[in-house]
């Protein structure tokens, strides 16, 4: 946790990544690399900022944080993301 701030100060910026929200979902996205055109729409619209990409190539969806909202699957112009309900 590092140095404790007084007065409730949090001294490590962006440390909420230590808190995984993935357990919230009851549906999960499946990304198809074949259909994907790396247009990054899903990345822009994802409320959780958990769609990973590198050098303009979409890598996949980090299910540790994905809450299963389905926004990426609906916004994708190429239907490259499909929502599956948890088995």
């Amino acid at each position: 946790m590092g140095e404790i701030g007084f007065g409730g100060n949090i001294l490590k910026d962006g440390n909420s990544v230590e808190f995984k929200t993935g357990s919230w979902k009851n549906k999960y996205p499946v990304h198809s690399k074949e259909k994907c055109k790396n247009c990054m729409f899903c990345v822009g619209y994802c409320p959780e900022d958990c769609i990973r990409h590198k050098d303009g190539i979409l890598e996949g969806i980090d299910l540790d944080y994905c809450k299963g909202c389905g926004v990426c699957s609906k916004v994708c112009p190429f239907k490259a993301i499909e929502m599956k309900s948890k088995e």
Binding site: G5, F6, G7, G8, N9, I10, L11, D13
Partner: protein, 391 residues
């Protein structure tokens, strides 16, 4: 070398602020403290200070802006009174809870309703639990001195400090005053060196989070511990101030109390009036004495009772009322401290001067007369008196 001057309370405080040259001042006008931001605006406009002055649109925003400024890392001051302080209520708790060393000047004034622009202590007493250190001043000299000390106390304790002096009686009356050379003031207050602040180029931080049970309780206890620890810090800073100016400040001032039989505890300008009453009574052989608390937050609960043990009768005078069907804050808090120390002195509460009613020497003499009766029959049949109504 000190500077001999003649200034009103507001002028003295504004001068202290000029010499301190804080980074930011956010203030809103309200009688009787208006003149402080007013004088200060002249210093800003004429380049006497480099302070960023924000003429906010309300006192709630004044304290909010001060919080943002202090959180950003600046040395921050403001001034208000009465309704303005009441409007800041929510933000005073936030400033203290975020441990921000803001110096807030309070020209004490009655609270509505009905509306009254004159002096009493209902405003600062009304926010006594917000977490601000509270220093009370009898006159212009003490107001000037306490403001300079407040800046240092706040930054050592990481707590906001409120410096209170009586509206009109002190704020608008011109008195002789000894000022400190500006470079000595600057040396005394030094530079603010924040460790956790928004504008730290090395590290971004988040302030004012939501805190759930486990952490909230702990943070609030840290705040309470900081208030307890502030007593030593106040003494330390006052000691340094004494070396610089030769003017001694402690948690409270004792005036003839050591060998007194009849004692009064009273704040701010009425203490001056009460001292004259003590002198007069002493001449006629009455063993009268008084204590004037300078520090009300943190309450000097362990020191005060020891000063009172030889008294035959004690009156604690409140220039405000708690409207609790019993008694006012100074009385209830000090008698509770006495109780904790097992001290049983016949003690009564005088509520006086509300809304600026004049308090003259013979009013105070009448209190001592009541104390004399109590001392004689060794008992208190009534606890709370309203001065001028039911002596």
């Amino acid at each position: 070398m000190a500077i001999r001057e003649r200034l009103s309370g507001n002028e003295a405080v504004a001068t202290a602020m000029k010499q301190i040259n804080p980074d930011t001042v956010a203030a809103y006008p309200i009688t009787p403290s208006t003149e402080v931001p007013q004088y200060f605006s002249n210093f800003v406009a004429n380049g006497d200070v480099t302070t960023e002055f924000i003429a906010v649109e309300s006192e709630h925003s004044a304290m909010s802006a001060c919080i943002g400024a202090s959180a950003a890392g600046g040395r921050v001051m403001s001034a208000t009174s009465s309704q303005g302080l009441a409007y800041m209520f929510e933000m005073l708790y936030v400033a203290a809870g975020m441990r921000l060393p803001i110096t807030l000047i309070c020209g004490n004034r009655a609270l509505s309703a009905p509306l009254n622009i004159h002096n009493d202590h209902s405003d600062s007493m009304g926010v006594r639990d917000a977490g601000f250190i509270q220093l009370y001043c009898e006159n212009n000299q003490e107001a000037y001195d306490n403001v300079i000390m407040a800046v240092k106390i706040a930054e050592k304790a990481n707590l906001p400090v409120m410096v209170c002096y009586d509206g009109f009686i002190t704020s608008h009356s011109v008195e002789n005053i000894m000022l400190i050379e500006t470079e000595d003031v600057k040396k005394f207050v030094g530079e603010r060196k924040p460790t956790q602040y928004l504008l730290d180029d090395e590290r971004n931080i988040s302030m004012g989070p939501m805190d759930l049970q486990k952490y909230y309780f702990e943070h609030r206890k840290q705040l309470a511990d900081a208030m307890r620890g502030a007593k030593d810090i106040i003494k330390e800073v006052s000691e340094e101030f004494y070396k610089l100016t030769g003017r001694k400040y402690d948690l409270y001032e004792k005036y003839g109390i050591d060998d007194a039989e009849l004692g009064i505890i009273v704040l701010n300008s009425s203490a001056g009036t009460a001292k004259d009453a003590v002198d007069e009574l002493r001449k006629s052989g009455v063993k009268a004495g008084l204590i004037k608390p300078r520090v009300f937050r943190p309450l000097p609960y362990s020191e005060l009772p020891d000063e009172l043990k030889n008294l035959k009768a004690l009156a604690i005078m409140d220039k405000c009322d708690s409207v609790n069907g019993y008694a006012a804050p100074l009385f209830t808090e000090i008698t509770s401290a006495m109780y904790s120390k097992g001290l049983k002195v016949p003690t009564i509460n005088y509520i006086y001067g509300l809304g600026g009613v004049d308090v003259k020497v013979d009013d105070i003499v009448s209190v001592y007369k009541k104390l004399n009766e109590i001392a004689k029959n060794g008992s208190v049949e009534k606890t709370t008196y309203y001065l001028g109504y039911d002596n």
